[in-house]
Symmetry: C2
DNA sequence: CTCCAAAATTGACCGTGGTCATTTAAATGC
DNA sequence: GCATTTAAATGACCACGGTCAATTTTGGAG
């Protein structure tokens, strides 16, 4: 039968995560190198890949954890009653998602996870995001001809769209919220 | 003063593109290797990077060319009058975009280009896509409380969303069009 | 035709993510 | 305690995208 996970395993994993966090804090996600992580963690490179299937899995772990924090914030606060409010309460999350192109790409890759059996920290976060927004919409003064969860997935689509514009438009004068809000207005409160 | 481009340059570039096309035809985009391309083209690796800034630029060239073909098809045909039609006329394009995860990612990366100064074959295609859809919407029986070009960018957002679901949902029973159509209905013809 | 400067090409080399046979450490049975 | 077996760790190695100083080719200028 399978033996219990050793304490050593958990310690090594924690060291790798802490090392990665420290690199990210100093240099950002884009500059993260597996070599640097194992150096700081004091392990061999092979050990890294015994704990994470690939580099992306480590990043997903860290990004997913932060994602969950922003989502908890959003879920705990009062449900937004207007489109402007809905954008406002998402600003911390948007700020994080757009802090680096690399971080945004991580989200983008899982953006279809809301309606899937995909697993992993980011996919879970996406599912939670849709649930949170669904609750907002269901309880708010928004259109009722479309199911709240469908509307919520649409909100996600527009969020990603607005952030994509930010990264594609080099000299963009528009901020993410300036792009996001009109879409939400048209999506949630059609005349 | 700058000399004219040599014929040799154009020939080499054409050989590289042809070599890449043949690899893709045989093994798909994901399996494309620069080594294999230069081998088939009969050039050195360095030559490849003298012609394309990186591997992605080559892929963008090829993907962009096919993208343009589908867009021309869409632009030439009659404008769709219903949501179902609008989905139907986009099916060839959707088929190509979802033929490989790798291809989809290429589009995704430029999906914000519609409102940007980004250049390159894919970005141009995205801009054209939005223009084509804008014309459809402006001339069709769709909502008028939102500007056609804003609606068109929303259509793009939903298209990407629907395709993302396809790639994230492993056992998805829903096809892209089944996901796409309800969004378009709610977006273009709110009750 | 000869020579020269710009353009094109070359391939050895590098950085980085990822693999795997081997070695070391820990848990289990006696 | 000792032997055995399973988990964990190791680091040399590979694949592949990308770089660059050196070399070859090309198209004029004289």
């Amino acid at each position: 039968m399978a033996r219990a996970v050793q304490r050593r395993t958990l310690e090594t994993r924690a060291r790798l995560l802490a090392a990665a966090e420290s690199v990210i804090a100093e240099q950002g996600f884009a500059a993260l190198r597996v070599e640097e992580v194992v150096l700081r963690a004091g392990t061999a490179k092979g050990t890294f890949f015994a704990h994470f299937p690939d580099k992306d899995a480590l990043v997903a772990q860290i990004v997913g954890a932060r994602f969950a924090l922003y989502l908890a914030e959003m879920a705990e606060g009062p449900a937004p009653e207007t489109v402007a409010d809905m954008v406002r309460v998402q600003m911390p999350l948007i700020g994080f998602m757009t802090s680096e192109r690399y971080v945004f790409d991580v989200f983008f890759r899982y953006s279809g996870a809301a309606a899937s059996d995909e697993i992993g920290p980011i996919a879970e976060g996406i599912v939670t995001y849709v649930e949170v927004v669904t609750d907002w919409i269901a309880g708010g003064p928004f259109r009722t001809d479309v199911a709240p969860d469908v509307l919520a997935e649409g909100v996600l689509a527009f969020l990603l769209q607005a952030m994509a514009v930010r990264f594609c438009a080099l000299h963009a004068s528009q901020t993410v919220e300036e792009t996001f809000a009109p879409y939400l207005q048209a999506w949630l409160l059609p005349r």
